[in-house]
């Protein structure tokens, strides 16, 4: 398949791996931010191929995983209201809330539908004028423009039966949180290619300068990631801390200006809770006051729902590179994708789920699978 196979070709991959191994004088600790990148690295066993030259730490960039419990509970509450059509990206349906998940709401008679685009939810709202249609607007900067577009379009059309449950988060504040922790072992970052397609990478230049860590914008295919790793290792060996772009076929420094503009017209930066992490200041989006009529939390009066999360699992340590998923005592036993106990086990992009799905056969002794 054109534009895919070129980036999965084993021969250039071997050359990149050899070069990384030749260049690295010690095992550098690198973090990929995005869950899609984690998925590829684990699926292709790239960590295994780089063992000894590079240690990969899996960052908090799985949108499904970091959507806070209280938002999932709000989604469940709204979806259970009769005559509501609740529309969501597919992988949010299995995410456990405090007591239920959207699949169960559906099983109990709720009208929960999977969509690939918020525009499908708009269409449903037009086609069902007597029913209230709610779109679950989650994700990082990647999905924010399309979700903003839906609200913008709904306002323009005067669609009164459409609203959005918004839980958007931003990548740079999470990186800042990690770098501010004095236990962080991360020495370089693969910046998220899709997020940067929208946002560009100027924000990462500030981070690189302030924390003196290198960033390389990476794509999602094996060769994209190996190239990003090669560039990071080179920077580290040469003592540089710059932002470089290994995903130029999609990313420019300024990003997608039209998308960013529409996004900022509809959303404003706000404090956000992250599942498993807690509140991070100025780390997400909420709808601007001009769009309050499309805010499902207000429309359905669920703003007050809150859900304390009991401290238990080790995702903190996993995300800081202090532990691997297989080091968790409940990994693969009580905690599996069918019975996720922690956020990173929920979506296939979560670090724990990716390990469970693809790599538990090489888990160290002690981790029962």
């Amino acid at each position: 398949m054109k534009y895919v196979d070129e980036y999965r070709d084993p021969a250039p991959a071997r050359r990149l791996i050899e070069e990384i191994r030749r260049t690295a004088t010690r095992p550098w600790v690198l973090m990929e931010i995005c869950g899609g990148q984690t998925h590829t690295l684990v699926k292709y066993g790239i960590e295994e191929l780089l063992d000894g030259a590079v240690e990969l730490v899996h960052g908090p960039g799985c949108p499904v995983c970091v959507t806070p419990l209280e938002i999932v509970d709000k989604a469940i509450a709204i979806a259970a209201i009769p005559q509501t059509i609740f529309v969501s990206y597919g992988d949010m349906l299995r995410v456990p809330g405090s007591h239920s998940d959207l699949f169960r709401v559906k099983a109990g008679g709720g009208d929960v539908r999977i969509a690939y685009s918020p525009m499908d939810a708009l269409r449903l709202a037009r086609e069902n004028p007597r029913r209230r249609v709610v779109f679950f607007a989650v994700g990082f900067e990647t999905t924010a423009p399309a979700n903003a577009m839906a609200a913008w379009q709904a306002k323009r059309e005067g669609l009164r039966n459409f609203s959005m449950l918004v839980s958007h988060v931003l990548v740079p504040p999470a990186i800042r949180l990690l770098l501010d922790s004095n236990l962080s072992r991360v020495e370089g970052f693969i910046a998220p290619g899709h997020v940067c397609t929208v946002m560009g990478y100027e924000e990462y230049e500030e981070l690189a300068a302030r924390y003196l860590v290198p960033f390389v914008v990476g794509g999602f295919e094996p060769l994209d990631l190996l190239e990003a790793i090669r560039m990071l290792v080179r920077q580290l060996e040469e003592g540089r801390a710059q932002v470089e772009n290994a995903y130029a076929r999609s990313v420019t420094r300024g990003g997608n200006l039209a998308a960013r503009q529409r996004m900022m017209e509809v959303f404003e930066v706000a404090d956000r809770n992250w599942r498993g992490i807690g509140p991070i200041a100025q780390s997400g989006f909420r709808l601007r006051a001009e769009y309050a009529e499309f805010d499902a939390e207000k429309v359905f009066g669920v703003e007050a729902i809150s859900a304390p999360e009991p401290p238990e699992c080790i995702s903190a340590l996993v995300l800081q590179g202090l532990k691997k998923p297989v080091d968790c005592p409940v990994f693969g036993t009580r905690c599996t994708p069918a019975t996720p106990m922690g956020a990173p086990m929920v979506s296939s992009e979560g670090a724990c789920a990716a390990y469970y799905q693809y790599r538990r056969h090489i888990a160290p002794a002690g981790a029962q699978v």
């Binding site: 398949m1 066993g45 299995r94 699949f103 903190a316 994708p337 069918a338 693809y358 056969h361």
Partner: protein, 349 residues
């Protein structure tokens, strides 16, 4: 900040107390349902084997017996419809036991208000499919449920067939070293159906691979009786079929990613939708475990048959990692090919 950042976890959900769609996915949830709800009450050693069909010894004859229900949406799709699917699906379950299909029953659950023309088209398609096999539909039943209590048309078919002398297929016969043969490219049916489903419509020329496999199976058995076991990888796809065999046979399975045929259209759709072809349904493919000495002859016989033209040797049964299916990537690494808990879910981005 000092000390590790505090992260926390949600409370795990208790065991599922309601049926969710994933229980029908052919994955782990389906298996749990069998294990926890049905098998303890039915207490049948034959059922406990969990083969696609029961093989019953009656007066010296070996009878294969199976049933399947069809709830596909849309009812008519490129490459097939609920009628042909209902006939071929049950015939294929018989064929996977090596049986020659003989007779089918057909049960219909109709929703009040269903257009009779739709039912007529489905029945016509069933008749045509049955003739081509050939198999005879000899008994049936019709029930009507109130409007809103069904989804237009559900069909159940039950089939019986005869297992020829000398044919013995079972996962229990699989040995390390056996070769794994696949009859053709995977994922056509699932992607063809998905392309026509509400909310996901995309244009493709791809057609369902819906077809009866009894002819292909007969050709394979004529080439060699050293075929150990066969499955048609329907719901849950190739991964579920291989995992089931690995678990029942107590062997490991290693497959080569580069050896598994997948059409460009299917790969493209899967890339776009965030799905893995290994988990996408097929309705006219089979996977066979064959003794190493017989593998070449069987593979050639498959390739001579119209439904096995693109058959491929995709892997081997192993004595290591029993119960686990591993896939070797073109990068030389291996990864697990697991059974999914429920349906594959489209990813956010």
């Amino acid at each position: 900040m000092s000390g590790p950042i505090q992260f926390t976890c949600p409370v795990p959900l208790a065991a599922r107390d309601r049926i969710v769609l994933g229980h029908g996915s052919g994955g782990k949830l389906s298996a749990e349902l069998l294990r926890d709800v049905f098998l303890p009450y039915f207490r049948s050693p034959i059922l406990n084997r969990l083969d696609d069909q029961a093989v019953l010894e009656i007066n010296g004859a070996r009878l294969a017996f199976t049933t399947d229900s069809f709830v596909v949406k849309p009812l008519f799709f490129r490459g097939g419809d609920i009628g042909s699917l209902a006939v071929n699906g049950t015939v294929n379950d018989l064929a996977m036991g090596g049986a020659t299909p003989l007779y089918l029953s057909a049960g219909f659950i109709l929703e009040e208000g269903l257009d009779i023309e739709i039912l007529r088209r489905a029945a016509e398609s069933m008749g045509r499919a049955a003739d081509s096999i050939p198999v005879e539909i000899v008994t049936g039943d019709t029930k009507v449920v109130e409007k809103g209590k069904g989804d237009g048309l559900f069909i159940n078919t039950t089939g019986i067939g005869l297992v020829p002398e000398g044919v013995r297929l079972s996962p229990a016969l699989v040995r390390p070293g056996d070769r794994v043969l696949l009859s053709g490219p995977i994922g056509d049916h699932g992607i063809a159906i998905l392309a026509e489903r509400e909310g996901i419509e995309f244009s493709t020329d791809l057609a369902s691979d819906c077809a009866p496999l009894n002819g292909l199976v007969a050709a394979m058995l004529a080439a060699s009786l050293d075929i150990r076991t066969m499955r048609d990888p329907t719901r849950g796809g190739l991964s579920s079929a291989l995992n089931e065999i690995a678990a029942r046979a107590g062997v490991g399975v290693t497959i080569e990613e580069s050896a598994i045929p997948v059409r460009e259209e299917v790969r493209g759709a899967c890339e776009m939708l965030g799905l893995d072809p290994l988990y996408v349904a097929n309705e006219g493919k089979l996977v066979a475990f064959v003794a190493p000495d017989a593998a070449e002859a069987v593979l050639e016989a498959m390739r001579r048959h119209a439904l096995g033209r693109d058959a491929a040797l995709i892997g081997t049964a192993t004595g290591t990692h029993p119960g686990l299916v591993l896939l070797r990537t073109p990068f030389g690494t291996t990864r697990i090919v697991d059974m999914l808990p429920g349906d594959q879910l489209p990813r956010i981005c």
